[in-house]
Symmetry: C2
Amino acid sequence: MGDSGTAIDGAVRDWGTLRERYCARMQRGAALAKDKVVAPDDVVALLEAVIEPGDRLCIEGNNQKHADFLAECLAEVSPERVHDLHIIQSNIALAPHLDVFERGIAERLDFCYSGPQGLRLSRLVKEGRLKVGAIHTYLELYGRYFCDLTPNVSFIAADAADHEGNLYTGPNTEDTPAIVEATAFKSGILIAQVNRIVDRVPRVDVPGDWVSFVVEAPRPYYIEPIFTRDPAAITEVQILMAMMVIRGIYEKYGVARLNHGIGFDTAAIELILPTYAADLGLRGKICKYMSVNPCPTLIPAIESGFVEGIHCAGSELGMENYVSERSDVFFTGRDGSMRSNRIFCQIAGHYSDLFIGSTLQIDLEGNSSTATLSRITGFGGAPNFGSESRARRHGSESWLMAGREAHRGNGMPRGRKLVVQIVESFREGLSSTFVERLDAWKLQESFGLPLPPVMVYGDDLTHIVTEEGIANLLLCDGPEEREQAIRGVAGYTEVGMARDPEMVRRLRAKGAVSYPEDLGVDKRLATRDLLAARSIKDLVRWSGGLYDPPARFRNW
Amino acid sequence: MGDSGTAIDGAVRDWGTLRERYCARMQRGAALAKDKVVAPDDVVALLEAVIEPGDRLCIEGNNQKHADFLAECLAEVSPERVHDLHIIQSNIALAPHLDVFERGIAERLDFCYSGPQGLRLSRLVKEGRLKVGAIHTYLELYGRYFCDLTPNVSFIAADAADHEGNLYTGPNTEDTPAIVEATAFKSGILIAQVNRIVDRVPRVDVPGDWVSFVVEAPRPYYIEPIFTRDPAAITEVQILMAMMVIRGIYEKYGVARLNHGIGFDTAAIELILPTYAADLGLRGKICKYMSVNPCPTLIPAIESGFVEGIHCAGSELGMENYVSERSDVFFTGRDGSMRSNRIFCQIAGHYSDLFIGSTLQIDLEGNSSTATLSRITGFGGAPNFGSESRARRHGSESWLMAGREAHRGNGMPRGRKLVVQIVESFREGLSSTFVERLDAWKLQESFGLPLPPVMVYGDDLTHIVTEEGIANLLLCDGPEEREQAIRGVAGYTEVGMARDPEMVRRLRAKGAVSYPEDLGVDKRLATRDLLAARSIKDLVRWSGGLYDPPARFRNW
C-alpha cells in the first residue's frame, strides 16, 4: 500500500500513455497540415500517419449525414500500415464502410444499424472477415463511447470550419457532439471533413480546440432525405388507422408530448391533425410537443397551430428555410438555422408520453421486429423511444391514465408510457404482419447473436393499431388475453382467423379490443379528402413556399 | 389550405416571437454590459432588464457546483418587475433558491432534488406560496428542457470566461452543456457567473457565441465535496457486505461495467478490490469501467490496476490533480483537467451491467425509497442508473447471465441489468430498513403527489444485500417467493423475524437466498485489515500525494 501505489508487480506504471500517443500522432500528422488544415490529396497519408493498428475508430454516419469522404480515404490506406481496426459507428450505409473489412484494414465492428449494406455485411461475417461485437441502439452505443468503447480516432462531418478548427454543422448537428466529446476528451484524434473553410463560421457548433484536423472535402458530405413521405402515396386504410389513433389513443389519454416513427402510417396521422383532429376540438390538447426530425408532413399541423414545439435529432433536406422561419417551434441558433442533436432528442423522446411507429412483424406476445431473414440490420432509436421510461417520475394526464390501466390496484401504483405499433395486417407482398414466431429467432441462429433481435418487446408495448381496430394490451389480464387481443385485430391473417370469438367479444366489452364503431370513428370519412395536404406540392403551399423539396420529390 | 397556411382565425401568425423577445432582452441588457461582461454590482439590474414575468428560469445547481452568486442576485430583484417565474432546475439546495418564492418573484417549481432546503420547501408548499409541478430525475428534467420545459433564461457557473464569452468549466462541467444547449438554441438568455475573466481560456467548454452575458462573481462558485467518504468510518459489517457483493455478484456474473452510488457501503467495496478481490484473482475481470464521480476511495483500486476507465458526471474537490495525472483512466481535456458531463455519464451508466446503491427503506415487493416523512426530496440520478435498460441490445457476460436467471425459458429471451440495493437491516437510530409499507405512501398523501415517490421499483431490483446475506430476486417465482427472499435477508427486523423458515430454506437451496457460507465468504476476514486504505491519509499516500483532501477531511 501507499508508496507501492503506482507500482504493480514491481514496474512503475505510466498513466499518460494515451496522451503520449496523442502527442506522437499529432506530431506525425502536423507534418501534413497547415495549422489544422489538411489538403484533400494528403488525407490518405494523414490517416496512415495518425491511425495506429488496433485503434478503435468511429466514422460519423447516422441515417442522414455521413463523413463519406473520410470513409473513402480510410478504405484507401495501406493495410500494411493500418490494420486490425475496431470500427465503432452507428451506421453501416456506404460501400467504403465495408471496403475496409474486405481490404483487411478493419476486423471488428460494433454498430447500430445497417441499411443497403446489410446483405454484404452478412456475407463478410460468414466469410470470417468481419467480427460483429454487438448491434446497439443509438444511446447505448454512445453510452459505450464513455465506457469501454471510446474511440481513438473519429471522423466527423460539418458544413464549415474556420482556420482554428471551429466547426459549423448548421441544421445537421445530429450525432457530432457525442462523437466529438468522447474522442476529444480521451486523447483521441478528431478529423473533420467540411464543405467549406471560411474565415468566420456562422456559429460555433464544436469548439476548435477539440478538433485535431480539418479537410475541405472535394464535394459536400453525403446526406439523405429519409424523413420525407409524399402525401400522394397515403392510402385510405392508413387514414382510417390514423383516425383510430387520434380518437382511441391521442384523445383518450390526452397525449401532448410524443415521438412519431418514420413512415406513411404516422404521416397520415400528421396530415389529419389540421382536419379531423381540429374538428374534434383537439387543437391545444394533443400533439403539442414532438421529438422528431422535421418531417415535411408536419408542416400543415405546425401551420395550423397544432404542434407548438419540436426538437429534432437531425434535419431533413429541403426543410432548412422553413425551420429557420419557425423559430418559435424549432430549436435554432443565432445564425437562424436549426440546431439538432440526436442525444437530447432521444432523451426528450424517451421521457415523453407516447411513441408510435411501424414494424414488419408482431408475434403473439406483442414482440415486434423489423429484422428480416437475409440481413443484419438494427433498430437505431426505436427501442429507446419505444420502451417504458422506468426512470420517469413526473406525472402527466396521459402517463398516469395509462399507469392506472396497467396496474389496476395491484402493487405500487405508477405511470406508464404509451408504446404503439401501427401496422396493416398484411404487408406488401401479402405476407402477414402477425406471426406465431418472429423471423428474429432464425436470425439469431444464423448470425450467432446472443438474443433474437427484437425491436420493441411485448411487455413494453401498450397498443397495436391495425385496419381492423386497436388492441389495448394494458387492459389484458395474462398472456392468454394478450394473445386474443392481438388476434382480435389481426384481420384475415392466419393469426387473426384463429381467434377465439367469444373471448374477443369479452375483451371488446372491457375495451381491450376496440373497433372503429367502438371509438366513434366513421369509416366513411376515411378518404384522402381528409388529408390536409395530398401532395408534396400541397406541402410547399402550406409552407408559404419555404419548404424546398429535393428534386426526386418534385413532379411538377 | 395553402395560402391560409400562416393564417389562423384570420390573423397572420408571427413565428419568431421568441427571437424578437430575445433581441429586445439583449438590447435592454446590453446597456449594462461591456461586450458581454457585466459588473457584479450591475447584475440585479441586468436581471430586471432581461427577465420577463412568467419566464421559465433555470439556475444551475446540481449536487456539486452552483451558480450561487446569480441565485442571490435573483432573490434581490424587484418582485414588481420580475414575478410569476417558473423555476426549472435540478437542485434546490441554497437559501436563495427558495427566497425567490418567499419574495413573490417565482411561483412554480419543477425540480429533481432538494437537500437541506427540503423542510422549508415543504412549508412553502403548504403555505401555497410555491406550486410544485413535479419531481424529476436528472435525465428526465433535461429531456423536458428540449420538450415542454425549455428555459427562457438560465444561470450557469464556470471557472473562467474570455471577453467573447467562451467558457472554461475545468473539471466541473457537470450539467452545464445540457442547460446551455436548451437555452441558447431556443432564443433564451444565458448568463454565466465565472470565477475569473481571462484573455484566453485554457480550453473552450462552452462556445462564446452561445453565451449572452458573463459576470466575474465576487467569490468562486459554491461547490461541495459530496463523494468523499473517510475510510476511517467504514465498519466491519460494511466490509462483510462488500465481500458478499464481490463473491456473490461481481465474481458470479463477471461484472465489468458498473455504477456505484454514494455511501460507505460502496466505498467499502472499492477499498477491498485491491485486497480481497485481487486475492480472488479478479483483477482484469470485474470493475473495469465505471460511471461515477472521482470518489477518493477509488484511488487504491485505480492504482492497483483494477479500474481501467472512469467517466464522471462531475468532479470531486481535492481530486483535480490526481485525475489530471491519470488521463489513461479519466476523460481529460488538452489543458490536462477533467471533462465531466452528467448527461453522458448517466447514459453510460444506464447501459452498463450493474448499479449498486443504498437506500433507507425497502418494502416486501422490493420497492425502495430514500424519501422520509417530513421532507420533499428526490432521487437525482439513481432511478436512471437503477432501472432496467430496456432499450439495451448488446450482450455481455453479466447481462446475459442475469437475463437467463430472470427468464428461465419463458417467452422471449433477453438480458437483464443487475440492480442491487446494499443495506443494513437496521439503520442508525435502530429503525428497520425493511418495512411493510414505505413512508413514500404517506408522503404522496401529504404533498398531493400523483404517485408515491419510489426510488427503485421492485421489478427493476435484482438483488438485496444485507449483513445477513443476499436475496436474488431473479430466481424467485412469484410475489410470495420474492417476499420470503426479502424476509430471508432482513435480519432481526420485524420483517425478517416473520419469515417462513421452511420457504426460506427452499429459496436458499435454489440460490434465491444466500448466506456468507453459501458464497464462500469467510466472515472472520471481515475486519478493517482488509481495507486497502483505512484513512484519508492512506488515500493521499496511495495517490502519491496527488489527492488533496478538503480541510474538513484532514485530521493530521
